[in-house]
Amino acid sequence: MVGLIVVGCTIATGLALLALRENINLFFSPSQIVDGTAPSNTTIRLGGMVVSGSIQRGENLGVTFVLTDLAEQVTVAYEGILPDLFREGQGIVTQGKLDSSGRFLAQQVLAKHDETYMPPEVNDALRKVMAVDQ
């Protein structure tokens, strides 16, 4: 009985760790995308501020916009409806993959329900850039 439990727990732990490894999404800032730190063709998260005037609607529900960390910019392409609080100047996080041409193909766009709220990741990335500038 005890042996069974130990074996069961070991298997469960192994499976959990495996599942964890496959489903971790690393966060990158636009600077890290531009300087090549971010891997392409794996699901990652990209966060930044939406550049004013960069939102362009395409065919059907296609849309592109530009994210910045005030140092570098990355163009994001998305197909679908944007969240309520998606707007220019807003800090947002997207999840998706980087294609070979350096465009980010987002599968998910997240914007939070608080006007003044800045996702911590985006906040940190912005602060890093400002620190470098000074």
């Binding site: 499976l15 599942a19 971790i24 999404n25 690393l26 679908g80 309520d84 939070k112 709220y117």
Partner: protein
């Protein structure tokens, strides 16, 4: 004046809590009757003062006293009265006050209904709850007073966050807190029993009904949160594995384990030390949940900008509670002697497996929730753990649980025969499987192994519940035996059926939901799963404190209109945040769900999300059945009085007097 009265009552409540947390404890230690008796009056006065503070805050909301910063930040003169009342717990400060009020309420209830418990035990339990309350009241007074004034006084308030202006969310926090805070009762019983050095069946019997009530409220609270997210976020989802959802789900899982192991401890005297540990862990996870939500370290819908001093306070409080209680456990538990489980084929060994599975599930969710925080704290990069992780560990761990659960209604305590079980259960399993295979064939658009699996499990729990009731009441007069079966058995049966309903809901929703994001101009049609959605355009409407664009969508089936959906895009006048209000036609077999995206360039077309969600109501219905089952079990007659007193004449039972 009223806010100052509130602050004053809070300070008085803190003093009562300190008295309540110290004297009865010392009294119990030194066998000092008067000190132990202080527990009652201190607990009731604490309740009165916290209640008074709470009433002061509510009055400040109702009278639009914007000199109070918290009121100005969370309400507005245009706000409907129901949201003025629920606005009290809309933010950090007020929800902590609500927490303290509920804790004082639970303490009062324990005081009121525990007159049959020995005085020493009762004094310790109330004292431990007093100590917890001291921590929370200190926290409120030192870092998060809801009564802080501000100058200059604004003419108009900042309004309530539009997301919270929904009846479902108005009642979600109080119910959730009833659950969270309710776990402080088994926690206090556990600590008291460890202090007294007596962990017996009586201890389990005393804490069982409280645990069941707290757990039932937590179940409803979580279900309400999920239902609200479905209605209000406009993504058609009902669970997102958001860290804050996990924070409430982990205590629930441990609470579920606790409810079961308490039964085994009470009936058979097994797992005594383990049960106490579960009680400590359940409450610690409730506190951890509060810490995660309130410290602002999570990226989530619930995260708000926050004051780091608060995080530090909660962290210290959390470490104190967890550290001291586990320390006490490590010191006392080794001396506890449990009865050993005699046979692997028995109800108690099933409960053991149930506990292991639930705890492993909790651990994997905890891992996924805390891993990003740990990585970040160590400077190893920012990561997030996606929903696929949680789904891929949760389903394989809980599916065997549902299979076992069916067996539980039939298997006996102590020792059962595997032949007998196979004889009863094999045909039931076969029938469940046949129904599981046939159901989707008749009812659903295409073949799906998930659906077959889920329906089989669901039918299995239902069928075994029926068999369980039948075999328990066979022999003799069935009607009389049905009536004499204790309500805890019916509660268990209902809760287990609820799990089945829940499983069917999840399986069919995830297998057969249809989602489309489309661009539609007025007059356009979209066909989804046999339903024809026609977009009739958008009109402007005015609400009490918002303007809205209301889309009109007519749903036709076979050319005949079956429903008219009116999703809205609201703009609240003060906060100017756009808000999506989904248009939903709810049904037992399917929901039709539409949410408005955004107007597109040409001015006529809109982006729309269209969903067909089969059987999604079953998810919340299942949760509701589970909770009702828990409540029914908690009201079992045998918990009202301990067995020693039950048979004596009523006059010997001390009737508790309510007083301050």
């Amino acid at each position: 004046m009223i806010p100052e009265l509130g602050t004053f009552s809070l300070i008085l409540a803190l003093l009562c809590a300190i008295v309540q947390g110290t004297f009865p404890l010392l009294g119990a230690h030194r066998n000092h009757g008067h000190w132990m008796n202080l527990a009652r009056s201190a607990a009731w006065s604490q309740l009165v003062f916290v209640g008074l503070a709470y009433a002061c805050l509510t009055v400040s909301f109702l009278s639009h006293d914007f000199s109070v910063r918290y009121v100005a930040f969370n309400s507005n003169t245009q706000l409907p009265v129901i949201y003025l009342i629920s606005g009290v717990w809309a933010g950090h400060e007020g929800s902590l006050l609500l927490w303290a009020l509920i804790l004082a309420g639970w303490t009062g209830a324990v005081e009121r209904y525990s007159s049959a418990i020995p005085q020493e035990m009762r004094a310790r339990v109330i004292a431990v709850m007093g100590l917890v309350s001291t921590g929370f009241l200190l926290f409120i007074i030192m870092t998060s007073s809801p009564f802080a004034r501000q100058f200059p006084i604004p003419l108009e308030g900042n309004d309530l966050n539009p997301l919270l202006q929904d009846p479902g969310l108005a009642i979600h926090p109080p119910i959730l807190y009833l659950g969270y805070v309710g776990f402080s009762v088994p926690f206090a019983f556990g600590i008291a029993a460890l202090l007294a050095g007596r962990l017996d069946g009586a201890w389990a019997r005393w804490s069982r009904p409280w645990t069941l009530f707290a757990w039932s409220f937590l179940t409803i609270g979580i279900a309400l949160g999920s239902w609200w997210a479905y209605n209000e976020l406009g993504w058609g989802g009902w669970w997102f594995w958001d860290p804050v959802e996990n924070a409430s789900f982990m205590p629930w899982l441990v609470g579920t384990a606790l409810v079961h192991s308490l039964a085994a401890t009470e009936k058979r005297g097994v797992f005594k030390a383990w049960t106490v540990l579960l009680a400590l862990v359940a409450f610690s996870l409730s506190l951890l949940g509060t810490f995660l939500v309130r410290s602002g370290i999570l990226t989530s819908v619930h995260a708000f900008a926050n004051d780091p001093a608060r995080g530090v306070f909660i962290l210290i409080f959390l470490s104190l509670v967890v550290g001291l209680s586990l320390g006490l456990y490590a010191w006392r538990a080794p001396s506890v002697r449990s009865t050993l489980v005699t046979s692997p084929i028995s109800r108690e060994s099933l409960i053991l497996i149930n506990n292991i599975l639930l705890m492993v599930t909790t651990a994997t969710i905890l891992l996924g929730t805390l891993y990003p925080l740990v990585m970040d704290a160590l400077g190893l990069g920012k990561i997030s753990v996606g929903a696929p992780y949680f789904n891929s560990v949760f389903v394989p761990l809980t599916a065997p649980l549902v299979l076992l659960l069916g067996t539980a209604s039939v298997i006996r305590w102590k020792q059962d025969k595997i032949k007998r079980l196979l004889w009863i259960l094999t045909p039931v399993l076969l029938i469940s499987f046949v129904i599981g295979v046939l159901w989707p064939v008749f009812n659903m658009p295409h073949y799906s192994s998930v659906a077959i699996f889920g329906v089989t499990l669901g039918v299995w729990t239902f069928a075994t519940a029926v068999v369980g009731v039948w075999s328990r009441t066979s022999g003799g007069n069935r009607w009389r035996r049905l009536r004499n079966t204790p309500s805890s058995f019916y509660g268990m049966t209902l809760a287990h059926v609820g799990v089945g309903v829940f499983a069917i809901g999840i399986a069919l929703t995830s297998a057969f939901s249809v989602e489309k994001q489309v661009r539609m101009a007025p007059g356009d049609h979209q066909l989804i799963g046999g339903y024809d959605f026609r977009f009739d355009g958008v009109i402007d409407v005015r609400g009490p404190n918002y303007l809205a664009q209301r889309g009109v969508i007519t749903v036709l089936k076979d050319g005949l209109p079956v429903s008219r959906l009116e999703p809205e895009k609201r703009t609240y006048q003060i906060q100017r945040n756009p808000m999506t209000e989904a248009g939903i036609e709810a049904g037992l077999m399917r929901d039709l769900y539409v949410s408005l995206g955004e107007p597109l360039d040409d001015g006529r077309s809109w982006g729309l999300r269209l969903y067909l969600k089969p059987f999604i109501r079953w998810i919340w219905l299942g949760a509701l059945l589970i909770a009702i089952g828990g409540l029914i079990a908690g009201f079992d007659r045998r918990y009202r009085l301990p067995s020693g007193i039950r048979n004596r004449s009523p006059s010997t039972v001390t009737t508790p007097s309510v007083g301050i």
